[in-house]
Structure formats: structure tokens, C-alpha cells
């Protein structure tokens, strides 16, 4: 898929769909949105839909940062407190490391 070849309306529509899709717990989609449309939104000469694309890209970036923060916090908490949580910790664990922590 080459963005160059799409007409502007379709670019906008694609950007919007990626943005909306990211709300389904898909920060990766937001990341793809940001990276893919970054050039379109900020580095190209202005065209009509560019403003909206910019908004979507910015919001995707915001959502992404939020998700990253939440995930990092959760992972840190989990790794730190897993052993102390006992049964709950095990229940939450997908893989349990062997050996003594």
C-alpha cells in the first residue's frame, strides 16, 4: 500500500479508520498510524485534508503514550510484587519462572 498513490480523501479515511480501530485496545494500531501518516501529516505541503489527518495522528500519539505508560506501570508492579502476591500472582501469571527469585 503506497500512500503516495491514494487520493487525499482516501488517506483521510484510512487514517480515521486506523485511529478509531485503536480504541479496541490496539495501541499498536495507533503506533502504525503515527509512523505511517507522520510524513503525510507534518512533512508534506498542505492540502485540504491534512489538518484532519494531523489531528488524528496527534490523538493517536497521545493514546499511544497513554497506553505505554499504563502498560509499563502495570508490568513494573507485576514483576515487583508477583512473588508477594502469592496465589493471586500465580493466577495472573502466564509463565512462572523456575528457581528462586
Amino acid at each position: 500500500m503506497n500512500l503516495e498513490r491514494l487520493p487525499n480523501e482516501e488517506k483521510l479515511s484510512l487514517c480515521r479508520k486506523y485511529y478509531l480501530g485503536g480504541f479496541a485496545f490496539l495501541p499498536f494500531l495507533w503506533l502504525v498510524n503515527v509512523v505511517w501518516f507522520f510524513q503525510e501529516a507534518f512533512l508534506k505541503p498542505t492540502y485540504t485534508e491534512q489538518l484532519q489527518i494531523k489531528t488524528y495522528v496527534k490523538r493517536s500519539a497521545l493514546g499511544l503514550v497513554l497506553w505505554v505508560t499504563v502498560l509499563t506501570t502495570w508490568i513494573t508492579i507485576f514483576q515487583h510484587f508477583r512473588a508477594q502476591w502469592g496465589a493471586v500472582g500465580d493466577y495472573l501469571s502466564f509463565t512462572i519462572p523456575l528457581g528462586i527469585p
Partner: protein
């Protein structure tokens, strides 16, 4: 892993398309079939110099001659360029497979679980029986693949596109979610990390959903290529794990023969697929094909076709022995505008998979694996280059498996029996060459 049910469905889809197709488009000559009556320059393909081919649309006659003259010199350049374009993905796929095999022991542990497609066990005491069993396994596997391919060709002929799409989607779902879940679990176990379900859930969900979007809908080209590579690697790993030793080698050999037959013989299913697609002026299943450049058709093509032409999927491609195809779609936004060409080569994902299986199995044999890796890798490369060269000469869909796999097998076994003891002896006698 439960081999019967989950693998079954999956396998059905996978083996279905044994060799999936690439549009057979002669790269250097304009294909009269594909030139639509409305004088739109969809099919003019010239290697390299796009300017020349520019508005060659309508006056096909004139440009033909001058194109032919330049064909010869461009042939080599064309072939070389495509070898390079394919170098990275195939190498990446092999690297991923080898890295996993070497680090995650799960994939080399022998279990007694086998896929239902290879019901005969190899745990027999006698060599003859083991050989017989592996041959039988191969026969079963190949016949499953043949049946699936024929089924697919029939579906395609009768335009049951919805069915095919549904099948592909189901199959890619399984690959993207279930297999990567397993893979991730094994990697975490190997590195002794504690990971919790919510995190894993988010990771797999993201990976899978974005994968589905990229592959079946629209997404950035590089990401799509990356997903296809990852999926091929996953499939190859599954094969390496669940196919018994000898069966795997025999299957590799048999499938390259099948590939040869299916693509080149006039009644071969793949050839029929190609011809049908040509008649209908459609890109042949961009699904299951790895394309190194972008396909973009616009304008006259119906929305469905345009969609499908940007549509690169994979799963079934597992079995799709690839065609190395010269890419020749022309994007057009209007007859007056400068016409560009997207040149690229298409290689079926099945090729990725089987190359990786070859290299992975070489890596999986214990001991001095570096020798095997190096030889397998280089051999496959030589094979691929030869295939591409042939492609440039013959300019039609070619099976990409036979040459590489044959060389690969020959060299693997000869390395095993000849080079290895040779090196050992040299080392034992402290004789360095």
C-alpha cells in the same frame, strides 16, 4: 498442543493452496491477453526504464520493437535486482527460524505427537520400516496437498471468492493468534521470565489484530512484508517440530517434485489457476504471495479486483510453492499522466516456509551446526538465483522450490556423510586447512 483438531483445520487451509499463484505476466513483452480493449496501458511492462514504456499504451506496435532490442541487456539487470529484493526477506525468515531453533529448545524436542497428516510413526526399530513409514507419511501429506490445491482451483474457477476469502481469513486468524501465542509462551519459558496474562493478552491481541488488518485489508507495505515473513517462520517452526525426522526430508523432496509438476505441466492445477486468472484479467491470488514491491491497479479494475490486488495474504501460502514472478502492474491515474511501474518479484510464501524448514532442520541437528547452516543457506541462495535467472529467460511462472531444495538436500546429506567426518578427522589430527 492438541494436534488433531486445531491443526487439522489449520492444516486443511494451509495445505490447500499448495502452490498458489502469481500472475503469469511476461515481463518484457506486452501480453496481448491482458491488454484490455480500452486502450489503457495496464499491461505494458518494461524492465527498468519506465520512461520508455511511458505512454506506450496505445501504440503497442511501435514500442514493441524497440523494447525487444533492449530486453537482452535489461534481463541481467532485472534478474540481479530481484535477487537482491528477495534476499532480505528470505534471509530474515531463515534467520528467525534458526535463531528460534537454537535458543528455544521446545522446537527441537521430539514428542510423540504427530500431525494427523503424518500418522505413521517413526519410532520403529528397523530401518526399513522407518523408511517405509516416512514414505507413506509423505504420500499422505502430498495427496492432502494435491486435493486441497485442486479444491482451491475448482473454487476459483467457479468464482466462489467468498468461500476462499473466508477460508484464508480463518487460517490466518489461527496462525496469527494461536501459533504466536504458543511461540511467545515458549520464548518466555526459555528465558525464564514471569509474564502475566493481561500483558500477554494485550500483546497477542495487538499482534494478531494488526496482522489481520495489514494482511487482509490495507496497511503499510513493510509491515505487511514483515508479517508475512513472521508467519512463514512460524509455519516453518511448526513443521520442524511436528514432522518426524525422515518424513520431513522425504516431504521436502516430494514437494519440490510436485511443485515442478504442478506448475509446468499443462494439466497442473497451478497452471490452470494461472490461466484462469489470466482469462479473467485478474491478479492471481495476491493472497499467499510475498511481493517485494507494490501492486497497484486502479481505474478500470473493479473495486473488488483493486482490493484483491493489494491483498497479500499468506497462510495457505504455506504450501504454496512459490512462483517467482515478475511483477508488472501499472498504476494509472489517467492516460495522460506519467506512467510508473511497480516492479517487483513475487515469491509464494510456501517457498519461504520450505526454505526455512530446510535450514531449520539443518540447524536442529546437533553438533557442528554451523557447517550445515552455511551450506544450506548458500545452496538455497544459489538455487534461488538460478531460478530467478530462469525466470528472466522464460518469463513465466516458475516453481521456485525444485532447484533450491534439490541442491539443499544433496548438500545437506553429503555434508552429513562426507564433510563432517572429514572435518572431524582433520581436527583430530590437528591439521588445519
Amino acid at each position: 498442543m492438541n494436534t488433531s483438531d486445531s491443526d487439522d483445520d489449520f492444516y486443511n487451509e494451509r495445505t490447500a493452496l499448495v502452490p498458489s499463484e502469481n500472475p503469469v505476466v511476461p515481463s518484457y513483452k506486452p501480453d496481448p491477453d491482458l491488454t484490455p480493449t480500452n486502450s489503457t496501458p495496464t499491461t505494458r511492462v518494461k524492465p527498468g526504464a519506465s520512461r520508455r514504456s511511458g505512454p506506450a499504451c496505445v501504440d503497442s506496435g511501435g514500442s514493441d520493437q524497440e523494447v525487444d532490442a533492449d530486453d537482452e541487456e535489461l534481463t541481467l539487470k532485472y534478474g540481479a535486482k530481484h535477487v537482491i529484493m528477495l534476499f532480505i526477506p528470505v534471509t530474515l525468515c531463515m534467520v528467525v527460524v534458526v535463531a528460534t531453533i537454537k535458543s528455544v529448545s521446545f522446537y527441537t524436542e521430539k514428542t510423540d505427537q504427530q500431525l494427523i497428516y503424518t500418522p505413521f510413526t517413526e519410532n520403529t526399530p528397523s530401518v526399513g520400516l522407518r523408511l517405509l513409514n516416512s514414505v507413506l507419511n509423505t504420500i499422505i501429506m502430498i495427496s492432502v496437498i494435491v486435493v486441497m490445491t485442486i479444491f482451491l482451483v475448482v473454487l476459483y474457477k467457479y468464482r466462489c471468492y467468498k468461500f476462499i476469502h473466508g477460508w484464508l481469513i480463518l487460517s490466518s486468524l489461527m496462525l496469527l493468534f494461536w501459533f504466536s501465542f504458543m511461540y511467545l509462551g515458549e520464548v518466555f519459558k526459555t528465558y525464564n521470565l514471569a509474564v502475566d496474562y493481561p500483558t500477554v493478552g494485550v500483546i497477542i491481541w495487538n499482534f494478531g489484530a494488526v496482522g489481520m488488518i495489514c494482511i487482509h485489508w490495507k496497511g503499510p507495505l513493510q509491515l505487511q512484508q514483515a508479517y508475512l515473513i513472521l508467519i512463514s517462520a512460524l509455519m516453518a517452526l511448526v513443521f520442524i517440530k511436528y514432522l518426524p525426522e525422515w518424513s520431513a526430508w522425504v516431504i521436502l523432496g516430494a514437494i519440490s517434485v510436485y511443485d515442478l509438476v504442478a506448475v509446468l505441466s499443462p494439466k497442473g492445477p497451478l497452471r490452470m489457476l494461472v490461466e484462469t486468472a489470466q482469462e479473467r484479467n485478474e491478479p492471481i491470488f495476491p493472497a499467499l504471495i510475498y511481493s517485494s514491491a507494490m501492486v497497484w491497479t486502479v481505474g478500470m479494475a473493479s473495486p473488488v479486483d483493486a482490493q484483491r490486488s493489494e491483498y497479500e495474504t499468506d497462510e495457505e501460502a504455506e504450501q504454496s510453492a512459490g512462483r517467482a514472478e515478475p511483477e508488472s502492474r501499472r498504476p494509472r491515474s489517467g492516460p495522460d499522466e506519467e506512467l510508473e511501474e511497480d516492479r517487483g518479484v513475487k515469491l509464494g510464501l510456501g517457498d519461504f516456509i520450505f526454505y526455512s524448514v530446510l535450514v531449520g532442520k539443518a540447524a536442529a541437528t546437533g553438533g557442528d551446526w554451523e557447517t550445515y547452516i552455511d551450506s544450506s543457506f548458500i545452496i538455497i541462495w544459489i538455487g534461488l538465483c538460478l531460478t530467478l535467472l530462469l525466470l528472466a529467460i522464460f518469463k513465466k511462472a516458475l516453481p521456485a522450490l525444485p532447484i533450491s531444495i534439490t541442491f539443499g538436500l544433496v548438500f545437506y546429506f553429503s555434508t552429513d556423510f562426507l564433510v563432517q567426518p572429514f572435518m572431524d578427522n582433520l581436527a583430530a589430527h590437528q591439521f588445519y586447512i
